[in-house]
């Protein structure tokens, strides 16, 4: 039963949230006056007038940049454990990480040079 005990507050919180939300929505639906017009049904984006539909297609170039970003982004995960034990690794650790980042830079330079980063 230990697992249920541990999660009991979460379950209670969830229940309260559901009940309150449902009650407020129901109350609003019952009480509010309904006067629709075009301005009201428009999408609200910080007061700026909307120009196009939000469900627009992304340019395929976006995916290319995103893919490169993901690959380089995930590599930083190795910096965290390295940073934690840097005081044990000392100079070796510094050189090692220099080599690791150097290889990444080579990849980056290659992507740059072949024009993978050109937007136009």
């Amino acid at each position: 039963m230990s697992i249920l005990d541990a999660y009991l507050p979460v379950v209670l919180f969830l229940l309260v949230a559901l009940v309150v939300t449902a009650a407020m929505l129901a109350a609003a639906a019952l009480i509010h006056p309904s006067r629709q017009n075009i301005v009201k049904s428009q999408a609200y984006e910080c007061g700026i007038e909307t120009t196009t539909d939000a469900r627009d297609r992304y340019s395929v170039r976006y995916y290319l940049v995103a893919m490169l970003f993901v690959v380089f982004d995930v590599e930083t995960v190795f910096l965290f454990p390295w940073a934690v034990i840097l005081d044990e690794l000392l100079l070796f650790g510094l050189i090692e990480m220099g080599i690791f980042l150097g290889i990444l830079v080579i990849g980056y330079a290659y992507a740059w040079r072949t024009g993978a980063l050109d937007w136009a």
Partner: protein, 493 residues
């Protein structure tokens, strides 16, 4: 625990470091090579691979484990590495002709062949689940890109997609098996896993589950039935030199990983994985050979034949004796020669506007290019396991090892399949000799290609006439694994 690797560790890593530095230089250097000088990049890649092979020489006959016990430099690893590097060199040589015809950039292609080779080398040496996994993925991701290298070609793209989806799926299965193994053994080191598996704590079912996941994951990579369905499509759609590299290098390295995992990590569970591999071997041989009979595309035919050959190689692992493992290693080496040779001839037939993959395009080859038809005849004879070729010797040892270990029926299935397979290899030979030639077009062959084909054919014949040397080498390599600890099979399954 010692964290910082020593200079001695680095010295043992010389082949891998040579290859890594070489391919990085090539990647950047290739950007500055003009488009009409692409051949220079192929040469540079060839030289780097040659240097890697040279760096491997001092490691012959050594047996050390370095870097906190995650990386082994032993005879077994060296054997597989030599196959991988030589396969990569042949791939580059046969690609030269192909790259010109397809008109694609050489830099990335050459670098990807090298990264895949690097992955294979790490797989062969890994004695830790993580090291093996990293090696496997370095290889696999390179292959996903290489299979789809012909960007405007629809078939190449579809092949890449199929290989990618099934490949990553099998990776997931394999790494899940590794997660369970790690949980049960409490370590990712092969040596520690073997100790934990000898007196298993926790449920036996969980151990079996982990082993089956590992076998299934690697079964995909070696294309054993029932995990083979990607192979024919991928080989057909992929660039021909890549299909050849995939069927040889990737298979050899995956077998290395499978053999090392089963023999060194789970010798105590041998009865479990042996029965699983028994089924895999029998199914692969039978399904591969029967499906190959109806193929009219030579790349598909070779794909099914490679599935069948994965079955033959597995026989040695089922036997799990030093003799069986040696026979498996010999057969992997022999298979590399004959398969790469046959694929090289398919590559050679590819000309501007001619796919050169269909069986009817081989018609009259004996008159158009007699020596090429003769080389193909040698490869077909060897693949069918007919003397005096190395293919015959390799199969004889495999079946002999199976009988020694008490798996008589497996040997019978193997022999029956060999007989069966002669039919479709003979079909290829018939097309070359018996049918009038369809095309009068000239068939120019690059000298490098001719040399590669001749060397492969010579290796197949010499291996068949003087097999002792190869077998002795394979035996000393197998001894590095300490296979003797595996008990012989008690009963006939």
């Amino acid at each position: 625990m010692q964290v910082v690797p020593t200079m001695a560790d680095m010295a043992w890593l010389a082949p891998e470091l040579t290859l890594t530095v070489g391919l990085l230089i090539l990647l950047i250097g290739g950007l500055f090579v003009p488009r009409d000088r692409q051949s220079a990049i192929v040469w540079a890649g060839f030289v780097v691979l040659g240097a890697t092979l040279a760096a491997l020489v001092p490691q012959a006959g050594r047996d050390v484990t370095i870097a906190n016990g995650v990386f082994a430099v032993d005879g077994f690893a060296v054997f597989i590495k030599v196959i991988a590097i030589v396969a990569a060199m042949i791939t580059l040589e046969t690609s030269r002709h192909w790259l010109t015809i397809e008109g694609v950039r050489a830099t990335e292609y050459v670098v990807l062949v090298m990264t895949a080779t690097l992955g294979m080398m790490v797989m062969a040496s890994g004695v830790d689940l993580v090291t093996m996994f990293i090696g496997l993925e370095t290889m696999a991701v390179s292959f996903y890109v290489m299979v789809g290298y012909l960007k405007p070609n629809r078939r190449s793209n579809e092949a890449a997609l199929k290989y990618f989806v099934l490949g990553t799926f099998s990776t997931g299965v394999l790494i899940y098996g590794m997660a369970w193994t790690y949980g049960l053994a409490g370590s990712t080191r092969i040596a520690d896993i073997a100790i934990a598996a000898a007196s298993p704590e926790g449920s036996i079912v969980a151990w079996r589950f982990a082993i089956m996941l590992l076998v299934a994951g690697l079964g995909f990579k070696i294309a054993a039935v029932p995990f083979h369905m990607w192979a024919p499509d991928v080989y057909e759609g992929a660039p021909t030199p890549i299909a050849s590299f995939l069927s040889v290098g990737s298979k050899a390295a995956s077998f290395a990983m499978l053999i090392r995992l089963m023999l060194e990590a789970f010798p105590s569970a041998s009865s479990d994985w042996r029965s699983a591999l028994y089924v895999l071997a029998a199914l692969s041989m039978t399904v591969g050979n029967i499906a190959a009979m109806t193929q009219n595309n030579l790349k598909r035919l070779l794909a099914y034949s490679s599935i069948a050959h994965a079955g033959y190689v597995t026989i040695g692992l089922v036997a799990a004796t030093p003799r069986g493992i040696s026979a498996s290693l010999v057969y992997i080496a022999v298979y590399a020669c004959m398969q790469m040779g046959a694929f090289a001839i398919v590559t050679a037939l590819r000309q501007k506007g001619v796919p050169g993959e269909e069986l009817h395009e081989f018609s009259g080859l004996a008159h158009r290019r007699p020596w090429m038809a003769f080389a193909m005849l040698i490869f077909m004879i060897a693949l069918g396991g007919i003397p005096p070729t190395a293919g015959f010797m390799g199969k004889m040892w495999l079946f002999g090892a199976a009988i020694d270990s008490g798996y008589v029926w497996l040997a019978v299935i193997g022999v029956a399949n060999s007989v069966l397979s002669v039919y479709y290899y003979a079909r290829v030979v018939m097309w070359m000799w018996m049918t009038p030639q369809e095309s009068e077009a000239p068939l120019p062959i690059a000298p490098s290609m001719a040399i590669a084909i001749s060397l492969a054919a010579a290796a197949v014949i010499i291996g068949g006439l003087f097999p002792d040397q190869l077998f002795t080498w394979a035996e000393s390599s197998a001894r590095a694994l300490g296979v003797v600890s595996v008990a012989p099979a008690l009963t006939l399954r």
